[in-house]
């Protein structure tokens, strides 16, 4: 496999893992915050919400997935451009909106769906560019 194909392949794998972990993480956070309720914007309200999030198992499950996302993200940007990896990760918005409709039963308008489609097309354009445009970095030892 050529260097560029290998670079594209491993970046694609990491981006897909990022999308899965971010989607599951955000979904769990949303569920957890629905269980906790709206946060009051006062000192006591914020501290109370912080305490509630610490004791919520669904929030911790969300954090677990977001740690997985962070690891995949850190690994991907160690070899690929930030301006390539992060837009590529936006592919997850389509999945996320679908999950919000199917699992959380949220209403999503046609305009919002169109916005999501534009995001996905934009990400596809970015995906056609070279993943790394900076000088090669040393391998960690």
């Amino acid at each position: 496999m050529s260097h560029e194909r290998r670079l594209r392949f491993k970046t694609l794998v990491m981006v897909l893992l990022m999308v899965v972990c971010a989607n599951l993480g955000d979904l769990m956070l949303k569920r957890g915050m629905l269980q906790i309720g709206a946060v009051q914007m006062s000192t006591s309200g914020i501290w109370q919400a912080l305490g509630s999030t610490i004791h919520n198992e669904t929030i911790w499950l969300g954090i677990f997935f977001l740690i997985g996302f962070t690891f995949c993200y850190m690994t991907a940007v160690s070899w690929a451009d930030y301006s390539y990896v992060m837009p590529a990760g936006a592919f997850g918005y389509a999945v996320q909106t679908l999950l919000a409709v199917l699992i959380l039963h949220e209403a999503v308008s046609a305009r919002r769906w169109f916005g999501v489609v534009l995001i996905v097309v934009g990400v596809m354009l970015v995906g056609q560019t070279h993943p790394s445009t900076t000088t090669p970095r040393p391998v960690a030892s």
């Binding site: 160690s78 930030y82 301006s83 999501v116 995906g127 391998v139």
Partner: protein, 122 residues
């Protein structure tokens, strides 16, 4: 109004944290392989980077502001709205990380930005 302010705070912390983390990871370099030993060495080198430790509090602040946003608005509004990170992040990538951002990449980012705006206005 409080939703917009919290969104701005979230986007600034998130983009700043990601730029700092990327800068740190470029210094660390990619893992030599995906075997456990190599990954442990990779993680050890990453957590010894001061840039990563600059990124952590910024990302923690963005995480907590995301939690607050999620308690205020539906998931299908909050998450796509945070895609503004891509526009700011691309500027950061070009001028701080010195990445070459081609017209096609810019076009993609702008489409993402328009998509985000439509999502916010919906």
């Amino acid at each position: 109004m409080r939703l917009i302010l919290m969104l701005v705070f979230f986007i600034c912390c998130s983009t700043g944290g990601e730029i700092a983390m990327t800068y740190g990871m470029k210094q660390v370099g990619e893992p030599e392989s995906f075997r456990p030993g190599a990954l442990l060495r990779f993680i050890k080198k990453a957590i010894s980077s001061s840039w990563i430790w600059l990124a952590v509090p910024l990302l923690a602040a963005s995480f907590y502001s995301l939690l607050i946003l999620l308690s205020w608005a539906p998931l299908s509004v909050v998450i796509p709205a945070s895609a503004f990170n891509y526009v700011l992040g691309t500027f950061g990538a070009k001028y701080l990380l010195r990445e070459q951002v081609s017209p096609k990449r810019w076009m993609g980012v702008i489409m993402v930005g328009i998509g985000v705006t439509l999502v916010l206005l919906a």
